[in-house]
Amino acid sequence: MGRGWRPLIVGGAVAAGTFALAQAQIFAPSAPAGGAVAGGDVYRGETIYQRECAGCHGAGGDGGVGPALAGAGLDAATVLAIVRSGRGVMPAGLVSEAQEPDIVAYVVSLSAP
């Protein structure tokens, strides 16, 4: 085999390695303790947060129309209840049921003091 194949072979090996690494997700955070909302993914939740919540609570969670969430020390059950039912001017049902674990995981991690 000519050495012209080397870039293809090495490149293929690197691509396969990347793919394997992406399957393993070695640094994915473990789900926070939270009963009903276990299995939430902080990083997926972040996208949902930026889309649905940041307008009122600030991109970094430092507050706006809504109160600051960063450092507020909220637990999963509280966040889930508020997201489901809304509170005051905050509307209910901003996220789908499938997104609930992720948004809760993100808000809990954001609000960790």
Partner: protein, 156 residues
């Protein structure tokens, strides 16, 4: 858990500059894309195209090398987050295309770097590899940063 700490440390580090880790990824990838534009432009000049640019020579080669190195470094935090935290996902077409192209990105990158050094290859090999790499970065940017800036938010 130790592995959990790594992603937490990464998040803390990134959010000292950006409002969130996704915002950071979107901007780092955008910077890398701009540098990829510099890569393609300087490469075209080295190949005798775009003659309005300064003469080919050591200066343009240096710009080509350093823009490439910098672009590569800028992609590393994005690689860390996308590959080791989020992983391969296919919930919708955008994410599926992004995951698939992203899996091949560093493979094509390594192949391109090897092609540069291999003078026994035919002349079309290098421009092909280079353009493939730049196009892949373009697709990755369109399916992530652009999506983020247009549908989520545009800000740091």
């Amino acid at each position: 858990m130790l592995l959990g700490d790594v992603s937490e440390t990464y998040t803390d580090l990134v959010t000292t500059v950006f409002s969130s880790t996704i915002a950071a990824k979107a901007w780092l990838a955008s910077a890398a894309l701009v540098l990829a534009g510099v890569q393609v432009t300087t490469a075209a000049r080295i190949y005798g195209r775009l003659t309005f640019l300064p003469e080919r020579g050591p200066a343009i080669a240096r710009v080509h090398r350093w823009s490439g190195r910098l672009a590569f470094l800028l992609t590393l935090p994005v690689f860390f987050h996308c590959v080791t935290i989020l992983g391969f996902q296919t919930p919708d077409a955008r994410v599926a295309v992004h995951s698939l192209v992203g899996s091949f990105f560093y493979g094509v990158f390594v192949a391109k770097v090897l092609v540069v050094r291999d003078h026994s290859l035919p002349g079309w090999a290098l421009p092909t590899a280079g353009l493939a790499l730049a196009s892949m970065l373009g697709v990755l940017w369109l399916t992530s940063s652009l999506w983020y800036f247009t549908t989520v938010r545009f800000g740091f």
